[in-house]
Amino acid sequence: MSETTSQITPARAKPWNDPRVRSLVFQLVAIAGVMWGGWTLVDNTLANMEARGISTGFGFLEQSAGFGIIMSLIPYEATDSYGRTFWVGLLNTLLVSGLGIVAATLLGFMIGVARLSSNWLIAKLSLAYIEIIRNIPLLLQIFFWYFAVLRNLPSPRQSVELGGLFFLNNRGFYLPDPIALPGFGWVELALAIAIASVIALRIWAKRRQQATGQIFPTGKVSLAILVTLPVLAFLATGAPLDWTVPELRGFNFRGGITIIPELAALWVALSLYTASFIAEIVRSGILSVSKGQTEAARALGLRQGLTLRLVVIPQAMRVIIPPLTSQYLNLVKNSSLATAIGYPDLVSVFMGTTLNQTGQAVEVVAMTMAVYLTISLLISFVMNLYNRAVALKER
């Protein structure tokens, strides 16, 4: 643009009125502001920690922890390091979150569908469930399941017993623990082969259906393969499996697998609570599928169950996935309420006991936050992938 003007060219804007200049300045100010804020924070923290004689660095992760943890998925002794308590806590968090997600999804879908049932009683009962459970604080529900229900369970010496193998008391639910003997590897191998062949079968059946229209009874055949192959291998290798049965010795049952009440209470509360939200999501997802789809499916002669499974749910999934993702994230975050009832999750073990014994709050909290951030990014990522797979493909 030339400075010597014709009358049509607008006057050149003053720099402070030029949007590009302004946005540049704004952004520079923002960067400066954030950097200054971050710098003061770090500076204050370092100065404060030095003034108060608090030690810094991640060296503490190597030191011996010296305290016990009631439940651990990996071997843990009191003499292990603080770093190991981090993994113990993390795995416990992942365990209860994973269990919770599975149970909440199953229950939520069931209730969401039941909410739309043609049976008046079932529909109203589902409604009542949703409205009661989701309007009561989760912490309260956890307390209820833990303290109120626990009090009514018998002591170890008066356990509820099932066939001398399963025991229920106020220390938990005890069940036999399988121990693989040599030769069990063959059974695992057989299972792997079975799974692989089922996948292959499915692909083949689908191709055939698309090509010829003939339907292969995939479900029944898959089930047969999945059961027969491993069982045959198991019998052929002479049943190489042993069980340790829990038995009462001293104060508690020993041996076997223990599901501690803290885990059970947290799991039940998280699943029930999240399921009530998922049910609403499922319901609105199903309602979002236009009635024409259902009618068309019925007109094609599909039965009600098949209509739901083959026509409605796949389309509803598009609406369901995004809010479902945030429910999963909520569940993972809510699992941190474990600390209120003593379930040894990440917050309770690492941000609780470890932080206290070492006094290194900044490092410990930063690690904990990083874990939750990673989990949440991972779940979002996986669900986005899935969402892309089910998204409407317009050709």
């Binding site: 003034a51 106020n170 508690n252 009440p261």
Partner: protein
């Protein structure tokens, strides 16, 4: 570009102001006098040590320790205010200056003294870790506890002592860690664990919270030393001395037979030790930065150590604890205070 430079300059100035603000800090005593009260960190509820009633009035031996310091500074024990803290929060609250002193059933250990930037100003209760078990288990000694599940409160030395004790005795245990002492006792009452472990004084307090206190017994075994006492921040020696000597004054007063009832008569005593303690002779108070009669105020408002003990945890109270180690050194205990001289 100029804008950015001026912005940078402005930022620098602001920073300078913030930094300069840091340098001007008063002494703790001046701060307390200025705001007109002493802020003291206590437990959120532990009978005998610090416990609010439903009107929010605090009682307990830890509470009285704070009130004695308030009496030493202001001549008025009611000038102490209380902040309930969980075990996790207590040290940070003190470090950050939210409270002036911590009197929260806190064990004196080397790590805490050396690496948290704190000073322990003495011991107001000598304690040791013990075990509370249900009577029906029929256990009489801690060595019979192999395989037991233990309820423990988070953020305490108890967790470590417990692991050490069981390891050295070749026993196994399951540690169930709760956040607060209420939840710990609730877990024990629900039968979730066989044994509740904590300082023995706390065990007595927690047992009194059970529906039927007689259904549980405290084992004779003591597995650790737990000297409990008030804590202050490092870096202000005058304040450290005030808290320390408030406690010593109470112990000395008991040794000299001065009580809140007879302190006025004692003022005319011709025993030089008593005269120095009550400020009728000498300038002991001024050396600490307090008024000369700070000792008189402490005894008048709160009482000597023995009164404080008997009122809160001693025989006849719900905790019903014998003096034991906490008796004066002249009576078989280890409560001993340096002379006021």
């Amino acid at each position: 570009m100029k804008k950015i430079f001026s912005l940078a300059a402005g930022t620098a100035t602001l920073l300078g102001v913030v930094m300069a603000g840091n340098a001007m800090a008063n002494t703790t005593l001046e701060n307390i006098r200025e705001k007109g009260h002493l802020q003291c960190g206590v437990t959120s509820g532990l009978p005998g040590f610090s416990q609010p009633d439903d009107k929010g009035n605090w009682t307990g031996i830890d509470v009285d320790t704070c009130r004695a310091v308030a009496a030493a500074i202001f001549g008025d024990a009611s000038k102490a205010q209380f902040t309930p803290l969980t075990a996790k929060e207590r040290f940070t609250a003190l470090q950050s200056g939210e409270i002036d002193m911590l009197s929260r059933n806190t064990t004196w250990t080397l790590t805490r003294d050396a690496s948290l930037g704190l000073n322990f100003a003495g011991v107001n209760y000598y304690d040791g870790q013990g075990f509370l078990v249900s009577r029906e288990l029929g256990v009489s000694d801690a060595t019979e506890l192999d395989g037991a599940t233990a309820c423990i409160q988070a953020g305490t030395t108890t967790e470590l002592n417990m692991a050490d004790y069981f390891r050295t005795h070749g026993m196994e245990f399951n540690a169930l860690v709760f956040d607060t002492s209420e939840q710990t006792v609730q877990g024990f009452a629900a039968g979730r664990c066989d044994v509740l472990t904590s300082d023995r004084s706390q065990l007595a307090a927690l047992r009194s919270k059970l529906t039927d206190p007689n259904s549980a017994v405290i084992l004779p075994t003591i597995i650790s030393k737990e000297p409990l006492g008030p804590v202050v921040r490092q870096g202000d020696d005058q304040w450290f001395n005030i808290v320390k000597w408030t406690l010593f004054t109470q112990v000395n007063a008991e040794e000299l037979g001065i009580t809140s009832a007879n302190v006025d008569e004692m003022k005319s005593s011709d025993n030089p030790s008593i005269q120095r303690l009550l400020g009728t002779d000498g300038d002991m108070g001024e050396k600490l930065g307090l008024s000369a009669d700070f000792g008189y105020n402490i005894i008048k408002e709160v009482g000597n150590y023995g009164e404080m003990y008997n009122r809160n945890v001693g025989p006849g109270t719900p905790l019903d604890l014998e003096r034991g180690l906490n008796a004066l050194w002249t009576e078989g205990g280890i409560m001993y205070a340096p002379p006021v001289r």
